[in-house]
């Protein structure tokens, strides 16, 4: 009997090729989408789980209570040691300090890399197995270095590279003492190079005992069966014993490693160096994947019930020859299951083919082939089976209940309930598709807005060199800049500690506020030269910019932005001029206020910013460069550079690229969204194609008669498409509020965002109707131009 079920199924698949193809393609695509969505979600939830002791690891951080609110800092270098010696429940601690260097094997091969200073205990707290080298001794000396396999192969072509050396920032020699397995992709921090902590904390410096100098990520490994809450509770006492230099209150917080990636608080200025996930994205992609699956299932249900009109006779015959309702139900479930399993097989191939594309688009290696994910392949197969059964169930029950007699009489009429259901499903499909189209339009408009919005500074034609604090440049800024500016094509130069879009250090800053009292701000601080404001086109709205004509401008003068003015309580920028400030032990007067500009991405609101002319922190050289003959300008620059700083590679970027690099994750989100939207529209249209082909076949005779009676081709097309276009229109009406609300929510994540405009909905609606019309035209035009005599004869 089962054999007979399958035989019948295959006969029908062959007999109704278009329907079968639509179902197979739709389901296969949907399965692939779901597969990758599951992998993505799983990957996002799997962060740091590769650590054997993940459950027992906490990250210690500092919440400093400033008058402006809590600032989230990393932890000071002294914390780890104190915790280790104070609390017996602590098994081990380790510190990591993220940094970046220009790494060179020889003069010509170089690149910028993030790397991390670490305590030797990093290899016992985390599961980073060493391939060579001894964990106990690898970090015995300053500039001892453990490379990942990838880095070892990249620089030396082999993992057998102990005692070989690399040059950091063109001057430091670091020696390989160990090679470790690559840190998994799903680690909240990753590096290919660990440097010994003694490279950072030189003899005689006070980093080890300083409780106010943040920048370390401190990890605590608790002993087994120790309550994390109990340990955390004791941290308050430790904080009390070690006041901060500025006497601000603070608390030590312990965040479990397991939730760092998704829920961890961004901390300190190096926050960007650790990966952080987004819970909303997980929800968004799960929901969208389920929607895509729904759309495909709806196609299946719609086409099967539509097709049932054609199968009515067969069902009647089977009934009178003795088939029970149950047997018919089995037959239809077999149909559904077979389609779904074939779709599964296609999906497996599709997934394999799409793997590089998906990894590229998510920017992560979330998939490594189904063979490596047997568990998922199994789940995936289950999904196919369940999908097949569920979407087969409704048609199966309806079809099996047909009364044989009306079928055989040929009197079977499309029952109204079925028709409403079918229309409902089509409307739902298009609602989902239109929501996704609107979402895509909004996402892209926002991305476009972020990349093109006037940021309040000049980002074009600014070439930025990161010289990694090299003294040869930092301490001779004036002469270096003069020399570089002599290159034809370079017309201006400026040197600074930071540039817009790069991470930046916040300092506690005290300025006299509107209430005549000194006010404490946690302000981003830029250290710049006299030309910086001009170089970046920053507009002075009160007072004046820095000038060599005023001796006090060196270190004793400060320019603040409008946000700082507001924070201080002044209504007028001019009111802030002349107010005393103190920062990092120095003090002086406010000399100017600049218009707010975006020194961080548009995700973040503009915060108070201070600027001072103060060498010592300089690491960026900004050169105004003409757009003509760029290549020759850069090669002249290269030549000059090797004379100025022999051995230090020239690492440069353009200011606009640097700023836009902040939107990498947003761009990936956008790309993923387009994929989802395109796929859901595609599958919906497949369904529409199937339904129109069905309804035109149903109406062949009617169309023939109408044509004989003189109906025009256009009126026939209108006859067929009218109903479907109406459905798409209803979908648009339902989709509009859903999209409006959800996109408003999504946009709220950006401090600066576009309004949700009516034109997005119009655009999406027009697009959906256009695509639907195109799909419909395939069948309806064919029917409309068919020779009526032929169609009537075949009846």
């Amino acid at each position: 009997m089962i054999k007979h079920y399958f035989k019948t199924t295959f006969r029908y698949l062959r007999a109704y090729k278009l329907f079968s193809a639509i179902n197979l393609v739709g389901l296969a695509v949907a399965f692939s989408v779901v597969y990758y969505a599951v992998l993505f979600v799983h990957f996002e939830l799997s962060y740091d789980q590769f650590n054997t002791n993940a459950d027992r690891i906490l990250r210690l951080s500092t919440n400093v209570e400033t008058p402006a609110g809590i600032t989230h800092e990393t932890s000071a270098g002294a914390v780890a040691g104190a915790v280790q010696s104070t609390f017996p429940e602590v098994e081990n601690t380790t510190r990591i300090f993220l940094d970046y260097y220009i790494v060179q094997k020889d003069q010509d091969a170089y690149g910028e890399e993030t790397l991390a200073y670490a305590d030797p205990s990093v290899f016992s707290v985390f599961s980073f197995p060493l391939i060579s080298g001894n964990a106990a001794t690898v970090f015995n000396n300053p500039y001892a270095m453990v490379l990942s396999e990838t880095a070892a192969k990249k620089y030396f072509g082999t993992t057998d590279c102990i005692n070989k050396t690399l040059t950091l920032d063109g001057k430091i020699t670091a020696t390989v003492t160990g090679v470790m397995k690559d840190i998994p992709q799903n680690s909240h921090f990753r590096t290919d190079i660990f440097l010994s902590m003694s490279s950072l904390i030189k003899e005689g410096t006070n980093w080890m005992t300083n409780w106010s100098r943040f920048g370390f990520s401190t990890y605590v490994l608790l002993k087994e069966n120790v309550s994390a809450a109990g340990f955390t509770a004791k941290l308050a006492g430790l904080a009390k014993e070690h006041p901060l230099k500025n006497n601000l209150q603070y608390s030590l917080v312990a965040e479990p490693l397991n939730s760092l990636y998704l829920h961890g608080q961004a901390r300190g200025n190096k926050a960007g160096a650790t990966a952080s996930g987004n819970y909303t994205n997980i929800y968004v992609f799960s929901i969208v994947a389920i929607f895509v699956l729904f759309i495909a299932c709806f196609n299946f249900i719609n086409l099967t019930t539509a097709l049932s009109l054609k199968r009515a006779k067969e069902i009647g015959v089977r009934k009178v020859t003795g088939a029970t309702r149950q047997q018919l139900t089995y037959q239809f479930l077999t149909d559904a299951l077979t389609v779904s399993l074939i779709a599964f097989a296609i999906a497996v191939i599709l997934c394999a083919a799409l793997q590089p594309f998906v990894n590229n688009i998510t920017g992560k290696v979330i998939a490594t082939g189904m063979a490596g994910n047997i568990k998922f392949a199994g789940l995936f197969l289950m999904l196919a089976i369940v999908t097949g059964l569920l979407s087969g169930l409704y048609p199966a029950l309806v079809l099996a209940r047909f009364k044989p007699v009306s079928n055989l009489k040929g009197k079977f009429v499309n029952n109204v309930k079925g028709l409403i259901l079918r229309k409902g499903l089509v409307i739902t499909q298009f609602t989902i598709s239109i929501v996704l189209i609107i979402a895509t339009i909004v996402v892209y408009s926002q991305l476009n807005f972020m990349q093109n919005e006037n940021l309040g500074f000049k980002k074009e034609h600014n070439l930025v060199i990161d010289f990694h604090y090299d003294e040869r440049i930092g301490e001779h800024g004036e002469s270096v800049m003069a020399e570089l500016a002599s290159i034809p094509g370079i017309h201006s130069a400026s040197i600074s500690s930071s540039i817009p879009g790069r991470s930046n250090t916040k300092y506690p800053t005290t300025i006299e506020g509107a209430n005549k009292e000194p006010q404490e701000l946690q302000a981003d601080a830029y250290f710049v030269d006299y030309n910086f404001l001009k170089q970046y086109g920053l507009e002075v709205v009160a007072g004046r910019g820095f000038s060599k004509d005023f001796a006090e401008d060196m270190r004793d003068a400060m320019v603040i932005n409008e946000s700082a003015v507001k924070r201080l309580g002044f209504n007028n920028a001019a009111d802030a001029i002349g107010k005393p400030f103190s920062q990092r032990g120095g003090n002086g007067l406010i000399i100017g206020v600049i218009k707010d500009f975006h020194f961080h991405s548009l995700h973040e609101a503009i915060m108070p910013l201070t600027m001072q002319v103060s060498p010592g922190f300089f690491t960026f050289l900004t050169l105004g460069i003409a757009s003509e003959n760029m290549a020759s300008t850069v090669s002249a620059l290269q030549k000059k550079w090797s004379a100025i700083a022999p051995g230090l590679p020239l690492v440069y970027n353009f200011a606009d690229d640097t700023f836009n690099a902040q939107y990498k994750a947003d761009n990936q989100f956008g790309k993923l969204f387009v994929c989802f939207a395109v796929l859901s529209v595609f599958i919906s249209c497949l369904g529409l194609l199937g339904l129109t082909s069905f309804s035109t076949v149903q109406r062949t005779k009617e169309i023939g008669i109408r044509k004989v009676l003189g109906a025009s081709v256009a009126s026939i097309i209108a006859l067929i498409t009218k109903e479907f276009i109406l459905m798409v229109f209803i979908a648009l009406i339902i989709a509009t509020p859903i999209a409006a609300i959800s996109m408003k929510y999504w946009l709220n994540d950006f401090a600066y965002h576009i309004p949700v405009k009516a034109q997005y909905f119009l655009m999406a609606g027009m697009l959906a109707i256009l695509v639907a019309l195109l799909t419909l035209s395939v069948q309806s035009v064919k029917a409309a131009i068919a020779n009526p005599v032929k169609t009537l004869k075949t009846e």
Partner: protein, 221 residues
């Protein structure tokens, strides 16, 4: 074998009942070959459907093999369709996607015969109806007469006691019609299958041993 007592069948059209069958009582004994005749719309098909348990009468009693079948569970009805009743249709109603062989095999599958039993039964029928050479063709590749042969083969595959045939030769030309009628006669005489056919042709009716005439839902005496 078949007893109808005061059968009424009506449809609700608008406000009033439209009677298709009124006060129909009849007896058909095992082994009879009965022809139902009457003008178009007189209720012949309806009567045949009621006899074949495809439709239920609104009033009256129906005994099939001595058993009251006026109200039956679906399961019981299927049971009778599998084992006692065969149908032949004017429009043949073969399953287009199945071959001749598979069409004949279908009722045997539902009856639960095993594969070798089915094989031998289908082979026997193909042989008997002289269509062995066409067993792998699809219905669309056959002439009307050939299709109807397959239809009859299918109807008797399960060894039913009775065959209900609704204008089995209505779409056929006279040579083919004669062949079908001869076949019915042979089945009736040699295999003792009871046959109830609807026909418009007086000639076809002569193959049977009794004629029931219907007019406006009433049996004419």
């Amino acid at each position: 074998m078949i007893q109808l007592k005061k059968i009424y069948k009506y449809y609700n059209t608008g406000s009033k009942k439209a009677y298709v069958l009124s006060d129909v009582s009849l007896d058909i004994a095992e082994g009879e070959f009965v022809s139902i005749m009457g003008p178009s719309g007189s209720g012949k098909s309806t009567l045949l459907h009621i006899l074949g348990l495809l439709e239920e009468a609104n009033e009256g009693e129906y005994l099939f093999l001595g058993e009251n079948v006026s109200k039956l569970t679906e399961k019981k009805r299927t049971e009778l369709h599998r084992n006692q009743i065969g149908f032949v249709f004017q429009a043949y109603h073969l399953i287009d996607e199945l071959t001749v062989y598979e069409n004949i095999e279908t009722p045997l599958l539902y009856k639960g015969l095993n594969s070798s039993e089915r094989k031998s039964r289908v082979a026997e029928l193909l042989d008997k109806f002289n269509i062995v050479g066409r067993k792998d063709l699809f219905p669309s590749q056959l002439s009307g007469g050939q299709q109807q042969l397959v239809g009859i083969a299918r109807a008797i595959a399960g060894n039913p006691k009775v065959i209900f045939a609704d204008e089995p030769t209505g779409n056929l030309h006279s040579d083919q019609a004669t062949e079908i009628m001869e076949l019915f006669k042979k089945l009736n005489e040699q295999e003792k299958v009871t046959i109830v056919q609807v026909t418009h042709s007086e000639h076809n009716a002569t193959y049977g041993n009794r004629v029931i005439r219907l007019k406006d839902g009433l049996i004419q005496r």
